[in-house]
């Protein structure tokens, strides 16, 4: 399977990364090289195999559903590129 430039543009859009036309050309060949490399996985018989999602050899742990921290708005906002009072600032979304 080979990605065309329209697909590369669509992936970039989904990934929210702005790409220029020359970048699309490079990315197209690089992504196709990677996809070509992983193609060999198709030769493995995976019939009846349960997928393995994680590295942990254990059941997921549960904890009490209680508040364990909070009241740290200033710390959370300290790294914000833009803030409006106690809120994160973003460009206007609704006209």
């Amino acid at each position: 399977m080979s990605l065309d430039s329209a697909t590369v543009r669509r992936i970039a859009k989904l990934a929210r990364i702005r790409v220029t036309e020359p970048e699309i050309v490079t990315l197209q060949s690089e992504l196709n090289a990677i996809l070509g490399y992983v193609e060999q996985l198709n030769e493995v018989d995976v019939e009846g195999v349960e997928p393995l999602s994680g590295g942990a050899q254990m059941a997921m742990r549960l904890r009490e559903d209680t508040v364990t921290d909070g009241d740290m708005a200033e710390q959370i906002l300290a790294n914000a590129p833009d803030r409006i009072g106690p809120y994160f600032g973003v460009p206007k979304v609704v006209e």
Partner: protein, 491 residues
């Protein structure tokens, strides 16, 4: 002996005996960093004042006998661990302004043990790379040189700054992280001992996430015993990481002194790849002989799905990365580039903030998770990951540990292997399977190649059996008596 040339065990003994102070030890390392970091670029952010403050606290503890084996020991911290009040970049421009308000659990554990932090070590951007060339803050130079050549070599990656710092005697030890080989491969390239413990042994809380089902923290040091001392302090259950293992931390240091007589060591046929360099093959044979001479039984084993490890990794890791890195949107932290509207702001921020390798991996991950392709790529990769784990489980029914080379070559030159991404990915061919299975694996320096560059052997163990890994690694270390030092190092 120079203060920067001590092992952690030696320095701890000298500190305990009050022959040296933590202040003297920190000052010597600060001076070494000031002298050599401009050349090696091992640290993105040296923190000499932090080091002196930590050393002062350590000296107080050494007086009132609350010291641990790490009290006063100067370390490099990979700049992927959040450190409260100290900039943490993940070697990405998108995190250039980020100052974490909290401390990662691993670094908090080290601070509680009294360690001294010298600074934040360089790495591949978001730990994505095998040569440290993808750092947004410039590449790291390997302190080792080929005999008779001044050509700059890479230190490996992604924990390349950590590796270069410890090898060049700018730190006594370092933290690293390993997702597909990022501790073991740079350890091999710089003549160090480095272990990726079992998935779940070290908390991931506060470690900038790359591929969450694979990421594990671990130590890098100049001896196997030093790595054991560090890992003991870094490990332990943490309720803030849902995959943290609720298990006691064994005495890793004691394990390094345990004989290996009677241990069953597996040699996997599938790691004898076509085109393996004769030097690497010969070193592997030598390692087998060393273990046999110390009483281990050698068994031929098979890990049939080995060759699929890398392609599985290059689906699973980018998929998880594309999801993890969605958080860098220019809103809550990090750098922002303004745009015409919200989406345009996201796209410009991420285009400017991420480097080429990170963009590639995010895009591959986005694609393999996208509607219509999920089953063909991601689900299939997860199934083959299960087969890779099954290979190890079956092998470990017959053997106690597995011996392989760490990497297919010695350190290569800056600018080599850059033709296409897949060539670079092949560096991780021997390290990725253990990451996918979640088992512990360690690289130990075993010799030099014909050009005078260090080569490593890898020991892979059972889940949560780092002790056997340390015993076997120490046996290799004893037999190899590796005493070579890099050309570029602190005086």
């Amino acid at each position: 002996m120079s203060l920067t040339d001590l092992t952690i065990a030696q320095a701890a003994a000298a500190l305990a005996a009050r022959q040296i102070s933590a202040h003297e030890l920190a000052s010597a390392h600060n001076a070494a960093i000031a002298a050599l970091n401009p050349r090696l670029n091992a640290f993105i952010t040296p923190t000499p004042e932090v080091a002196l403050a930590h050393a002062e606290a350590a000296d107080a503890r050494l007086k009132d006998s609350t010291a641990t084996p790490l009290t006063g020991i100067p370390l490099a911290i990979k700049d992927l661990f959040c450190t409260a009040g100290v900039r943490t970049t993940a070697a990405s421009r998108i995190l250039e302004p980020f100052i974490p308000p909290y401390e990662s659990t691993v670094t908090a554990n080290l601070l509680a043990a009294g360690a001294v932090f010298l600074g934040k070590a360089n790495l591949d951007e978001f730990a994505m790379g095998s040569s440290n060339i993808t750092s947004g803050y410039g590449p790291v130079e390997n302190p080792w040189k080929r005999a008779g050549s001044d050509a700059k070599l890479v230190p490996g990656g992604s924990s390349g700054g950590s590796a270069a710092a410890v090898a060049a005697r700018l730190a006594l030890g370092a933290t690293g992280t390993d997702t597909g080989g990022s501790i073991r491969q740079p350890a091999a390239f710089t003549g160090l001992a480095g272990i990726k413990p079992t998935y779940g042994r070290c908390s991931r809380y506060g470690v900038v996430a790359f591929a969450s089902s694979l990421d594990q923290a671990g130590p890098m040091a100049r001896t196997v015993e030093d790595a054991a001392i560090l890992l003991a302090a870094m490990s332990g259950f943490d309720p803030r990481d849902s995959t943290s293992a609720e298990r006691p931390v064994p005495d890793f240091r004691a394990a390094t002194h345990r004989p290996i007589k009677g241990l069953r060591i597996g040699i996997p046929a599938e790691y004898r790849m076509d085109g393996m360099s004769p030097e690497i093959a010969a070193l592997w044979e030598t390692g087998i002989t060393w273990l046999r001479e110390q009483g281990a039984q050698i068994h031929d084993i098979s890990l049939p799905h080995t060759k699929y490890g890398l392609p599985v990794y290059y689906i699973v890791a980018p998929a998880e990365a594309s999801s993890n890195l969605a958080r860098y949107d220019g809103v809550r932290y990090g750098a922002r580039v303004d745009g015409e509207d919200l989406i345009d702001m996201y796209e410009r921020t991420r285009a400017a903030g991420f480097g080429a390798e990170v963009k590639r991996r995010i895009m591959i991950g986005t694609y393999v998770l996208s509607a219509g392709y999920y089953d063909a790529y991601y689900l299939r990769a997860q199934k083959i990951r299960a087969l890779i784990l099954r290979d190890f489980t079956q092998a470990f029914a017959k053997v106690d540990a597995i011996l392989t080379p760490t990497a297919p070559s010695a350190a290569f030159g800056l600018g080599e292997k850059m033709d296409d991404p897949v060539t670079m990915y092949l560096n991780d061919v021997f390290t990725v399977p253990a990451s996918l299975a979640g088992v512990p694996a360690m690289s130990v320096p075993a010799g030099l190649n014909a050009e005078g560059l260090p080569l490593g052997l890898q020991i892979i163990g059972k889940h949560f059996d780092e002790e056997t890994v340390f015993s076997v690694a120490a046996a290799i270390e004893r037999a190899a008596s590796f005493t070579a030092k890099p050309i570029v190092r602190a005086a």
